[in-house]
């Protein structure tokens, strides 16, 4: 079981959304990380077969997915980043509708719906109209439809958006269990979604893959670049402007413990810290920390 992406490119008018991406995806959980606008969703849609690449190809077990057609879609499960529901649908109606679209028999539909509603704690709302559910519940309904046909390839685009921490943990555990002998690809900008369950990760930036490897290999790149320091709370703004700060924690005696990324220690009392995948992400996408800092400064100056 192997999904091969070969020199995939997608152009939209004058912009390259995905540029010359190649990946070999084997069974297990894969994380596809990147900031907003990196090209993750466009790549995901091409893997799902709903967007045609401008060039390159995607093969499953050696056969182009466009040639496989229905056969590929029958083993495929997909949760888009944004999705809607017909307003008259209850949870059960929606899952039955999607089961029919996926070609499941009535018997199989009944069995799978009962199992998935129970697994995803949706049994109490099976007859409730989806439009009346909370955002997190709607997301779980979306996950349920992706799992209806026991897919061999499961693609999830920002799957934990709207889920509370408890739901996220349950979801991660569900995926870990599900991913044995299957390909699961999670596209996200929330690193913790994949950090503990992904066997491999690919990081996207400006339409291309900038880094690829197991979590341990990628984290190793940040060795010697992550530090813990202690600063006076009065100096916080000054150091925030000059350094890439990942985390802050108030300490006793008007001090702040700071976790930051730098090639060398620059803050007082700095000691090396164990790097995490999130540190690599923030190293590669500094604009994500800068935007947060700008918002914080605006708030404090007002």
């Amino acid at each position: 079981m192997k999904l091969c992406i070969e020199h995939l490119t997608k152009n939209f008018q004058d912009k390259k959304a995905v540029e010359d991406v190649s990946l070999r995806i084997t069974p297990g959980v894969w994380g596809l990380l990147g900031a907003n606008g990196a090209g993750k969703t466009t790549l995901i849609r091409m893997i799902a077969g709903i967007l045609v690449p401008s060039s390159g190809r995607i093969t499953y077990d050696g056969i182009d997915i466009r040639d496989l057609g229905e056969s590929y879609r029958s083993i495929f499960g997909y949760l888009p980043q944004e999705f809607g529901f017909y307003p008259e649908f209850t949870v059960k109606d929606y899952l039955e509708y999607m089961a029919a679209l996926k070609g499941l028999s009535r018997q199989k539909t009944r069995e799978k719906i009962d199992l998935l509603l129970d697994t995803l704690s949706l049994s109490d709302v099976r007859k409730k109209r989806i439009v009346k559910l909370s955002g997190g519940m709607k997301r779980r309904v979306g996950i349920a439809q992706a799992l209806l046909n026991d897919p061999e390839v499961l693609i999830l685009d920002e799957p934990t958006s709207g889920l509370d921490p408890g739901e996220r943990v349950r979801f991660r555990n569900l995926l870990s269990e599900f991913a044995q002998d299957r390909i699961v690809l999670i596209s996200t900008h929330i690193v913790s979604d994949v950090e503990y369950i992904a066997t491999c990760n690919a990081i996207m930036k400006d339409g291309g893959i900038t880094a690829e490897g197991t979590t341990e290999e990628l984290v190793l790149e940040m060795k010697g670049r992550v530090w813990n320091g202690i600063i006076p709370d009065t100096d916080l703004l000054k150091y925030e402007r000059e350094n890439r700060i990942v985390n802050l924690r108030n300490e006793a005696g008007h001090k702040i413990s700071v976790r930051y990324i730098s090639d060398e220690p620059v803050l007082p009392c700095s000691v090396p810290a164990s790097p995490r995948l999130e540190d690599l992400y923030l190293w590669l996408f500094p604009q994500d920390t800068r935007r947060e800092e700008d918002m914080k400064h605006e708030f404090m100056e007002s």
Binding site: L51, V52, K102, S105
Partner: protein
């Protein structure tokens, strides 16, 4: 396990004891075993007919109910039109009205055919086994069957109500209907899906305007009856529609142009 594979395997195992180095048996078994594996690996799935039947529950009731309401309205319209314009003027007015009704019949289907985009279901549906093309095909079948019933009901009502010939009524119901259907199906088969409601509505408006123009400036147009010539035109339009339906069932580019960069 397939019978041939079973038999080949049995004889090979029996020979194995006598000739342990005989690889010829393995050469015969291997392709049969691969074939068996591939057959089992393919998932069981409902056929398109089964899928269509299940769509009736989700779509059919809603569509047919709307069509029944529309039919009631159109019959009322024809009845009122006939009552207002009786005698000579009804010979042009009623056919004109029937032509408009058949265009409106199909125009009412536009929201149903565009539902997936309106409610952001398109992406999820496109990634499923039957995908957007087959789903559209199912919707066209459901809507088409309702339209057929409605056209027949309108035809019988108009024959009963007006004094016009059945051939004339059939002509002014069928030709505008097939023209509208041809246009809609061509748009679905070849144009960007997001443009369908706009282009479809524009087409309907143009056809209605054309029917009105003919009534105003070429009233003799509404004095025809269903001749073999018109029958040939209807047949050509019907064949054209079927060809477009075939193109729709094979189309895989419904999603292009739907998205922003991401």
């Amino acid at each position: 396990m397939k019978k041939l594979l079973k038999q080949t395997l049995r004889s090979a195992l029996q020979n194995c004891e006598k000739h342990p180095d005989n690889r010829e048996a393995l050469t015969r078994i291997l392709p049969l075993a691969k074939q068996e594996y591939r057959a089992r690996a393919q998932r069981q799935s409902i056929p398109f007919g089964g899928f269509l039947v299940r769509q009736i529950r989700f779509l059919g009731k809603r569509v047919w109910f709307s069509q029944a309401l529309l039919l009631l309205l159109l019959c009322l319209l024809v009845n009122t039109g006939y009552n207002i314009r009786s005698g000579i003027t009804s010979l042009t007015f009623v056919p004109f009205l029937l032509g408009c009704c058949s265009v409106l019949l199909l125009t009412a289907a536009v929201p149903m055919l565009y539902r997936s985009v309106r409610f952001q279901m398109l992406e999820t549906e496109a990634a499923a086994r039957f995908s957007v093309s087959r789903l559209l095909l199912a919707r066209l079948c459901i809507i088409g069957s309702g339209d057929l019933v409605m056209l027949t009901a309108l035809l019988l009502f108009a024959i009963q109500k007006s004094g016009l010939s059945a051939g004339g009524i059939l002509l002014y119901l069928l030709v505008p209907f097939l023209l509208t259907a041809s246009g809609y199906l061509t748009i679905l088969a070849h144009m960007a899906y997001r443009l369908f409601p706009y282009l479809g509505s524009t087409l309907s408006a143009c056809l209605l305007a054309g029917l009105y123009y003919l009534k105003k400036w070429q009233p003799a147009f509404y004095g025809h009856t269903f001749t073999p010539g018109w029958g040939m035109i209807c047949l050509i339009l019907l064949l054209f529609c079927m060809r477009q339906v075939k193109t729709i069932s094979r189309r895989d580019r419904f999603m292009e142009g739907q998205f922003h960069l991401g």
